[in-house]
């Protein structure tokens, strides 16, 4: 497998006709670990969802290329089959579909018809990943995410990443909801996978807390504020943010406070017969 590259060029997009991202530039190559931080509601998940092709997000301009191919022109499933993976902040629950059945379908979706994975090799890979993630052995046979605790859902996202072996993986707040041990286990599994796959996989982590970076050491740390990348640094930038918060950056970048709070109030008013 060649070294993958995801290039995001001046990407802007909106949801509900409101522009959230105003021109994002970012390049992630195989073997690199990028981290995105930023205050609540600044567009981090919006970026992740737009790259994956969530139907609620409209692209207004710019490009996203995966290995020189126009990602934004592909349907969601094709993006996945080309190697993009998104561990979601809020994974959906699907009743009636067991985790294991779903995982096997997903693995086979990436394989040619004459090379589908059999039940036994699949179970073996699945059990190994479950063990490595120290998950409850009953989770694969339960319905997909249904009734999973917050932490179990997150681990289940990593389980899928391990089995699907993506070229570019975006992990949206994979650390939220994890207890201390689970954070270590998830962190170590991600790092171990990154090391094992080397240049075959690039990582884009979205997080609020420096503590995840104790286990996954980033090459780049980007800060998104008001829909733009306002600063790029390394692990030290994350440490400084943890200590000092975002205010200093906001001032340096000459930004107003997040408009997120103001917007709903305006919306409320807009419904009134003035």
């Amino acid at each position: 497998m060649s070294r993958p590259v995801l290039e995001i060029k001046n990407l802007s997009c909106s949801v509900d006709n409101k522009e959230i991202l105003h021109g994002i530039d970012l390049t992630v190559r195989g073997g690199e670990i990028h981290v995105i931080m930023g205050p609540n509601g600044t567009g981090k998940s919006t970026l992740a969802s737009t790259l994956m092709g969530h139907p609620s997000y409209q692209v207004n301009g710019g490009q996203a290329l995966l290995n020189d191919e126009d990602l934004l022109a592909m349907p969601v499933d094709e993006r996945a089959r080309k190697g993009l993976f998104l561990a979601m902040q809020y994974p959906a629950e699907i009743q009636g579909v067991t985790n294991a059945d779903f995982m096997r379908t997903a693995m086979n979706a990436k394989l040619p018809a004459d090379h589908q994975i059999g039940v036994f090799p699949f179970r073996k890979a699945l059990n190994q990943a479950v063990t490595e993630l120290e998950m409850d052995p009953s989770l694969p046979d339960r319905y997909l995410n249904e009734g999973f605790s917050g932490g179990e859902k997150k681990r289940n996202e990593i389980l899928q990443m391990k089995l699907l072996k993506p070229a570019i993986a975006i992990l949206d707040e994979i650390d939220s909801g994890l207890d201390i041990d689970a954070l270590r286990i998830v962190g170590q599994n991600v790092t171990q996978m990154a090391q094992a796959r080397g240049e075959e996989m690039g990582l884009l982590l979205i997080t609020h807390y420096q503590r995840l970076l104790d286990y996954i050491v980033p090459d780049y740390v980007h800060v998104i504020m008001n829909g733009r990348v306002v600063r790029t640094g390394d692990k030290e930038l994350a440490e400084k943010l943890e200590r000092d918060g975002y205010e200093w950056l906001r001032q340096e970048a000459g930004l107003e406070a997040e408009p997120a709070d103001a917007a709903p109030a305006a919306d409320l008013l807009s419904g009134l017969p003035l």
Binding site: M52, D77, M88, I94, F102, A106, Y143, L164
Partner: protein, 373 residues
């Protein structure tokens, strides 16, 4: 191969003793062993197909007089006049019946009895079923192309447990009317699973929780084809303290199909410490699909727990996105979610009656075929 043999084999029920009602009425008592192709059906010395009586494995069957019209009238579902109009066909509830009494006594294990109804039966079929104290049985009613009504009068004595499974055999399209009444005694439990993937149907159930600790759980999986209609009408009355009921119904409806779950949980005064739950949902796969879910609770007692949910909805866009983001095509994601809508009922049936694993696998396969259009 006769159709009945095909059905038994498909469902993995061919090694199990069962009853077979055909165009001749109760025409055979199917033997325990699979018939070998040379000699045909092996004779079963304990059962006499001519008199329709049988004694075996804690089970006895005998013909009885057809119930009086007043008795049969109790099987009229509520609001029947209105439904007649909606269903646009007569509901023959006080018609002629062929009646049998089935008693099951405790034998230390779950008696597993398939009952097949196929072909144009000469009359409605009435089964009076009693589970004696501590008896455990799974009665799996399989209907194929047959339209005459089916009435079940069920009496569960103390601490008995009945798994009643109602399976409309996939691939045999015919209208079906089933109405059952069940009285559940002290500590006894009724678990009912209905699976209908093809045909128009009207099923009514009236359950009376009459003994302390009595329990009723009913589940339905309905796949409603285009221009078909399926209605399920379920009333559970909590008549004494500490009784538990749970209705769980899921339906999938294609274009121009109609589905209805009407659930009534009634807790009478004095039935304190009781619990009544209902959850009825439809997934409409087309804007022309019509569905109604009425989860009604009528409660005349304070110290109870009750909950009800009912919904008619479309495919969840977030769920579709999630599956697509893992590489499944839109069609695959759609199929998986639709099948998953009905699977919990099938899985639960398999958990309640482990001997039905093959039956469940067969039904699951049929669901998968239906949803991968």
């Amino acid at each position: 191969m006769r159709n009945i043999d095909k059905i038994r084999t498909s469902l993995g029920l061919d090694n199990i003793y069962g009853l077979y009602f055909s165009h001749k009425g109760l025409s055979s008592l199917l033997p325990l062993q699979r018939p070998d192709s040379q000699t045909g059906l092996a004779a079963d010395s304990k059962c006499d197909p001519l008199t329709g009586s049988c004694q075996r494995d804690g089970m006895s069957l005998e013909p009885i007089a057809s119930p009086e019209p007043e008795a049969l009238a109790l099987f009229r579902p509520v609001e029947i006049e209105q439904k007649k109009k909606e269903l646009n066909r007569p509901l023959p509830v006080d018609c002629e019946t062929q009646a049998y009494r089935l008693r099951i006594s405790p034998v230390g294990h779950q008696v597993n009895l398939p009952v097949f109804m196929a072909g144009e039966r000469p009359a409605a079929t009435y089964l009076d079923i009693t589970l004696e104290s501590d008896a455990e049985a799974a009665i799996t009613l399989v209907t194929a192309k047959t339209e005459e009504p089916i009435f079940l009068n069920i009496n569960l004595e103390a601490n008995s447990r009945l798994d009643l499974n109602v399976i409309k055999m996939p691939g045999y399209i015919s209208w079906q009317l089933l109405s059952y009444r069940a009285a559940v005694g002290d500590g006894a439990s009724l678990r009912q699973h209905s699976v209908n993937l093809d045909s128009s149907a009207y099923q009514a159930g009236q359950v009376f929780l009459r003994g302390e600790g009595a329990e009723a759980r009913t589940q339905t999986a309905a796949f409603v084809n285009s221009f078909e209609s399926q209605r399920f009408d379920m009333t559970i009355r909590h008549e004494v303290p500490h009784t538990v009921s749970d209705m769980f119904n899921h339906g999938v409806i294609l274009a121009d199909g109609f589905g209805c779950f009407a659930g009534r949980g009634v807790i009478v005064k004095g039935a304190f410490g009781s619990k009544a739950e209902q959850d009825s949902r439809f997934l409409a796969l087309d804007p022309t699909a019509r569905a109604e879910a009425y989860p009604v609770l009528i409660i005349d007692e304070y110290d109870v727990e009750a909950g009800h949910a009912g919904s008619v909805g479309q495919m969840d866009a977030e769920a579709l996105f999630y599956l697509q983001s893992r590489g499944l095509t839109l069609e695959e994601a759609h199929s998986l979610i639709t099948a998953g809508y009905l699977f919990p009922i099938l899985h639960d049936m398999g958990r309640c009656v482990p001997a039905l694993q093959k039956t469940v696998a067969y039904l699951q396969q049929r669901v998968i075929e239906k949803v991968s259009l």
